[in-house]
């Protein structure tokens, strides 16, 4: 058995309504807890349903950084409403229009922290491979997603760090003597927020690495060992605010000369090594997919340990997997209390035991 059975603190999705999201004009679906696969032809909007669930749970998309992409043609606003069941059951409503996202909890507008505290979601799609290609920014995003999915109330820290960094960059770009004069104050705030951020990230990478090993061991999947190495910037910034401050001071002159912020977690790196070598160069396509799936199972385990069992969203899990491979991969997720999957293969429900099959077509979703 992979993973721990979830405790009762998790919230699962009973039903949802999607309005003007991508190609979905108006769609209701009541999957309820358990494991579900959504089958239908390409372009019918299966992935958009998963994306809408992800938006409901996180107010973000796993496909785009710009939510404007999710707006149905010629509409002004999209929204997703969901009924949660479980100990923290509630009605959630997330909407977007130009100008921003709005969140409601049981009919009242809610802070980011209150809202995210109710539910959590974790997605996997083949596109997650990009992570492996080593773009440092996407890896930092992955890190922060993990950190703040676990601790939604601390998300203000990231906002704070970004605001200080923006101010500092603006100051450096002008860099007169007057700028230098107040730079120290911004650096002080940068050190405080930066230290807190690298601490959270370091802690998360350690948990993720341990969970990854555990998942791999329990699954019996044969794979080369994987190592996650977190390289905070500055390296010593993890120790204390004081050492973070010292590193900033050391870089002070270079920063002024180059007019750039050269120290801080906006430059952190996450190295992923696969059998001792950089994963971007050494893994085959099949290994990459496997890595991404094990990583997803590991991320779920970390969330679960924090009492934040996620709704798992797996897009096209079965693509390019033969029956044996699919069965061993499914073992990574079968203990999750709620899994929503898509598949272009009408047979897939049958290929995975115990999964409810749904047919999605132009006018809605029906049980198969």
């Amino acid at each position: 058995m992979i993973g721990l059975r979830s405790d009762s603190s998790s919230s699962l999705l009973q039903s949802l309504t999607i309005q003007d999201f991508r190609c979905l004009e108006g769609l209701s679906w009541s999957p309820g807890p358990g494991q579900h696969v959504l089958v239908g032809s390409n372009g019918v909007g299966k992935t958009s349903v998963l994306e809408a669930v992800y938006f409901l749970a996180t107010t973000k998309s796993f496909r785009t950084a710009s939510l404007a992409d999710c707006l149905r043609w010629r509409q002004r606003e999209f929204w997703v409403r969901g009924q949660l069941v479980g100990e923290r059951g509630a009605e959630l409503l997330a909407s977007w229009k130009t100008g921003g996202t709005a969140r409601q909890l049981n009919g009242k507008s809610a802070t980011f922290g209150e809202y995210l505290g109710r539910v959590s979601a974790l997605s996997w799609s083949a596109k997650d491979d990009r992570l492996i290609d080593g773009d440092p920014a996407s890896r930092r995003r992955l890190l922060d997603q993990g950190v703040f999915a676990k601790k939604p109330l601390e998300v203000g820290l990231l906002t704070r760090y970004r605001r200080v960094l923006t101010a500092k960059r603006r100051l450096l770009s002008k860099a007169g003597n007057a700028a230098v004069d107040s730079l120290e104050s911004w650096n002080e705030l940068l050190a405080e927020a930066g230290h807190a951020l690298v601490r959270l990230r370091a802690e998360h990478v350690a948990e993720l690495g341990a969970a990854f090993d555990q998942v791999l061991r329990e699954s019996g999947i044969e794979a080369r060992p994987v190592e996650f190495r977190y390289r905070p910037n500055p390296e010593k910034g993890v120790e204390s605010v004081e050492s973070f401050r010292r590193e900033l001071a050391l870089a002070g002159e270079r920063e002024l000369a180059q007019k750039r912020a050269l120290v801080g977690p906006h430059l952190d790196r996450l190295e992923i090594r696969w059998g001792g070598a950089d994963i971007a160069r050494s893994a085959s396509a099949g290994e990459r997919k496997l890595f991404g799936l094990v990583l997803t199972a590991a991320r779920r385990r970390v969330l679960l340990a924090a009492g934040r069992e996620p709704i798992l969203l797996l897009d096209d899990l079965d693509a390019a997997l033969d029956q044996d491979r699919l069965e061993s991969v499914w073992r990574l997720f079968e203990s999750a209390p709620q899994v929503l999957m898509t598949s272009a293969d009408p047979g897939t429900g049958g290929r995975i035991r115990g999964v409810s099959r749904w047919h999605m077509h132009g006018s809605g979703i029906e049980p198969l």
């Binding site: 101010a167 603006r170 120290e184 911004w186």
Partner: protein, 195 residues
């Protein structure tokens, strides 16, 4: 947009901070229904604020007489200065009844994004007021800009060996003095910590 008097009033009211079109309409309806004398008093009060209030030449609060009633009050503790961002930050602190010193309004906060550096704020004027001052309380807001400003002033003041303290904000980060209740503010004044 319609240009009748009622719509013009609604338009003007909705330009005020925190007033949406709905509230503006309700306020305008109230004014339209009110006695003429009430409307005149409101209009006169608005014009008077612009005509008669000007910054105090010492502390930069808005006042009818210069120096303002706080700066010229001999009963107040002139060895204590509380530094705030804006003139309207003074009222909430006064309402707590906990503070008997003077104020200094910076007329803003450090904000590189908005091109505000130390020279755009009333910092030099504060430095000119330090003779005989035993403590400066930094009461800028607990957001990023307010904190940076407090840190900056803290360093300047310590270089002049003036004891500096910061309001002990029990309020959530990002909370404004303006929107913080009196009890919380009073507590943050009493519990202010040295920096």
């Amino acid at each position: 947009m319609a240009n009748d008097p009622f719509s013009r009033l609604v338009a003007e009211l909705s330009r005020l901070p925190g007033i949406g079109p709905k509230t503006a309409t309700r306020l305008a309806q109230h004014v339209a229904k009110a006695e003429r004398s009430g409307a005149e008093a409101l209009a006169a009060a608005i014009v008077e604020v612009k005509d008669k209030l000007r910054p105090c030449s010492t502390c930069y609060s808005l006042t009818e007489v210069d120096p303002c009633s706080i700066c010229s009050d001999p009963e107040r503790d002139h060895s204590l200065i509380c530094v705030v961002e804006q003139p309207f930050n003074i009222q909430p602190l006064e309402r707590t009844g906990e503070y008997r010193g003077l104020y200094h309004v910076l007329m803003g906060v450090l904000s590189p994004q908005h091109g505000v550096g130390p020279e755009q704020l009333k910092i030099a004027a504060l430095m000119d007021r330090l003779e005989g001052v035993k403590e400066v309380i930094l009461a800028t807001n607990p957001d990023v800009e307010g904190e940076a400003t407090a840190l900056y002033l803290g360093r300047l003041l310590k270089a002049r060996t003036i004891p500096v303290s910061r309001l002990a904000f029990g309020m959530p980060v990002g909370g404004d003095i303006e929107y913080t209740d009196e009890v919380t503010l009073a507590r943050s004044l009493v519990g202010r910590r040295n920096v």
